[in-house]
Amino acid sequence: MQADERLALADDEQMAFEVPDVLVDRATHYCPGCHHGIAHRLVAEVLEEMGVVDDTICVASIGCSVFIYNYLAVDSVEAPHGRAPAVATGVKRGRTDKIVFTYQGDGDLASIGLAEVMHAANRGERITIVFVNNTVYGMTGGQMAPTTLIGQKTTTCPGGRCRDREGMPIRMAEIIAGLGGVAYSARASLDSVKNIRAAKKAVRKAFDVQQQGLGFGFVELLSGCPTNWRMDAVKANTRIREEMIPYFPLGVYKDVTEGEGVC
């Protein structure tokens, strides 16, 4: 049988789930069980549903997800480590008519890039930030991140993160929500179908507030890194539920869509 015959729908079948056109059909470089693929897909679906694919500029950051431009067929530029919100500010100020977003991990955004994200948020830049928090530096081999949980062992806190030495994990969605220029800040999780559906709504809102000119849109996605957590993908999902969500509560921390937006 030919491939197209195998793929053709039978009379009693209907297409319920399609791959967004903006997602590039290629082999993934992400590890088994990694949630970047899901996060990429949510962004792809949202851009298509909003009809803004052709007007979108992506700012890639440093880490595993630097290669987001290999998976999303949109105009893209690479930012130095942590600087994506500043680069996005420059893109957006240059082209205020475009949809501009950054896609950053927790080492990039919450450690080296803290100043850039805080000030872009505080200025109310009309950009969207998709923040993937997996509590570890993934690409460099599993070192401690600012979001690493207390007691979590990494290659640079082999005895487990200790509050007295390394301080407490940073809760970004709450911090961002406290800044004046922010129109939307939420935290969602990619550990289960139910949470992924909620995450998509949050991603959509984070883009909607940009498109409506209301202010800065921020969505934090709790994600698994089975490779650096030294566990399988199922256990990684369980860890998100049992260890991450209790410390990083899911929810919407700021939403001005009912109001006038920020100045």
Binding site: S76, V91, A115
Partner: protein, 361 residues
Amino acid sequence: MPHNTTDTGTPERIFIKGNEAIAHGALAAGCRCYFGYPITPQNDIPEMMSYALPDAGGEFVQAESEVASANMLLGAAAAGIRALTSSSSPGISLMQEAISYMAGSELPGVIVNMNRGGPGLGDIGPSQGDYFQSVKGGGHGDYKLLVLAPATCQECYDMMVQAFDLAFKYRNPVMVLGDAIVGQMKEPVTPWKPAAVAGTEAADWRLEGAKGRKPRLLKSLFLEDGALAGQNRHLQAKYAAMQAEARAESFLTDDAELIVVAYGSIGRIAKSAIRKLRAQGHKVGLVRPQTLFPFPGPLLRGLAEQGKRFLTIEHNCGQMVEDVRLSIRGIVDSAFYGHMPGEMPGSDDFLAPILDAMGGK
């Protein structure tokens, strides 16, 4: 900017600081975004851009740091916008990361450095201590900036127009390297409007959304086998081609026995010293490089082949002199006089070093 021509059609001259001339020149060149962070002695530039750019339909952002300013410049450049940042030495150090990324990603932008004393916090007075940082790359990796060095307020204006054109011509960051002298002094300047703002509209690389075409990607990461080597070869060929842009002012070099090589404000002060010595009959001339990269090495080499001797004068402890010596290697050496950063030079300070280099003649 109401400074074009008078009713009679003659160019209107305005009396402004070098820093203001930088801002006027940038606006004339079609600059539409400015990103910066306060630092002395260049604050007139962001202050003027903060009110002039919105009037010109552009965007002004006071960034949270020079790190952020330079990355905002990178972003605006990626969108094909004529954009500017300015700072002074410690702030320029903070920008080196983004400048390296811009060079690696081939993004055009203009960076103004009003050089102050260093190292460290140094002082807020003039210095040429940033020659190496400006001309030899400055950040990580093998790359070059085009570097223009104004000596007058008029050149501050003119070189801003050139800087934007060169940035887009070569898809490369351009630095305009002044100092606290040329930035803070006032002179009459004749503003002019370039005939056309080249390069911006037709750019086939800028990001604007991939409507009706394949997505574009601007990056400096090349992991595939051979890709980075290929990119480096491409960049080096581009830097070699930039040699065509080398410019220098030559002053009384034809009959000179000694050529003083000095750039920027120091070149101008050296010119005053040379006038005094010429009045006393000393055959001394000046080459003032207006581009520091590309360096006008062939000009100097030609003068060396005529048997002339050389003295390099800088407001630092010896940086450009290395490029002078490389330019004339195998023929003659260059003497060096470094006026110490932290001390303001006058033309009389250069008389004895020039006479020494002439062998007491």
